[in-house]
């Protein structure tokens, strides 16, 4: 085996070894098959790259699913991706109430990948271009 072939194999080995580490940032940590609705108050609003983040406080109540109670860290897309779906930095602010549908973390921790927010008129504000098959344009 030539030296350059050995080097190439070593590089591929390093890449494969590190590639198997657990990943954050991709959607792998969210249960993308599960759509859960949350209703709460915005307690933190970070309109920023590379991912928009906001926190939602869901208080216990008669009509609230117990497993949704708590403070959730909601992850959206980049500013550019969300802007094209109609979001702006003023879409929500701290103290606003919000209804949203998202994909919870697989490990049960309080993180959500945003699917869409439901505005007071019932229309949906999607996180990106993904749409459910049965979605009717409102």
């Amino acid at each position: 085996m030539t030296i350059s072939r050995r080097v190439a194999l070593a590089i591929i080995g390093v890449a494969l070894a590190t590639g198997s580490l657990a990943a954050h940032h991709s959607f792998a940590m969210f249960d993308m098959e599960k759509n859960v609705e949350y209703s709460g108050l915005i307690t933190e609003w970070k309109w920023q790259n590379p991912h928009v983040h906001f926190n939602v406080l869901v208080k216990p109540g008669a009509s609230v699913a117990p497993n949704t109670v708590g403070t959730w860290d909601v992850e959206g897309g980049s500013i550019n991706i969300m802007s094209r779906q109609g979001w702006t930095r003023a879409s929500y602010k701290i103290g606003d109430s919000i209804r949203l549908v998202g994909h919870p973390m697989k490990d049960g921790s309080k993180g959500i990948s945003l699917f869409y927010a439901i505005r007071p008129d019932g229309s949906r504000l999607y996180h990106d271009i993904a749409r459910p098959k049965d979605d009717v344009k409102k």
């Binding site: 030296i3 050995r6 080097v7 070593a10 590089i11 580490l21 954050h24 940032h25 790259n49 980049s78």
Partner: protein, 158 residues
């Protein structure tokens, strides 16, 4: 640590990460990728030649490639500093970040030693010494580690 928190929470960071313009974060991140391609690309060509790939090319003819190494490095040092400021407090406690920075420093140092010992010589040899070849092989591996760890920083963030 307070200093790094003040950088991360500065008005500059708010503006840079929160701007609706694609000329802020997306552009600087793209520059960081293009700079990496120039820096690591030129380094790969040099190191592969040291390892006798395209062995007919005289070693001295590699000298102009170092200009691209430095152009790529300058682009990435400046774009990297901006990106670092916006998450300074997170990065100074991130072991993956230190793996990346150390890999870059050592890979660049090896590159300079190879330049001095194998490329800048007036009595140009057709083949580099075993030591230069070892350093070139190590550089290739270190650049791969730097790229992989750089990418992993986004995935292993706490």
């Amino acid at each position: 640590m307070a200093f790094f928190h003040s950088l991360q929470n500065s008005a500059f960071t708010d503006w840079f990460l929160g701007s609706d313009s694609i000329w802020t974060y997306p552009t600087v991140l793209t520059l960081h990728t293009v700079g990496m391609a120039i820096l690591v690309g030129a380094s790969f060509v040099i190191n592969l030649r040291i390892l006798q790939v395209a062995g007919a090319i005289p070693l001295q003819r590699l000298q102009p490639l170092y200009r691209f190494v430095w152009i790529g490095f300058a682009v990435n040092l400046s774009s990297g500093l901006v990106l670092f400021v916006t998450e300074a407090a997170d990065r100074v406690v991130d072991p993956v970040f230190y793996v990346k920075i150390c890999s870059i420093v050592v890979a660049l140092s090896f590159g300079m030693v190879v330049k001095r010992n194998a490329i800048d010589r007036s009595d140009s040899q057709p083949a580099a010494s075993a030591r230069s070849r070892f350093l070139a092989a190590a550089s290739l591996a270190l650049w791969a580690v730097a790229i992989v760890s750089g990418r992993l920083m986004a995935y292993l963030k706490n």
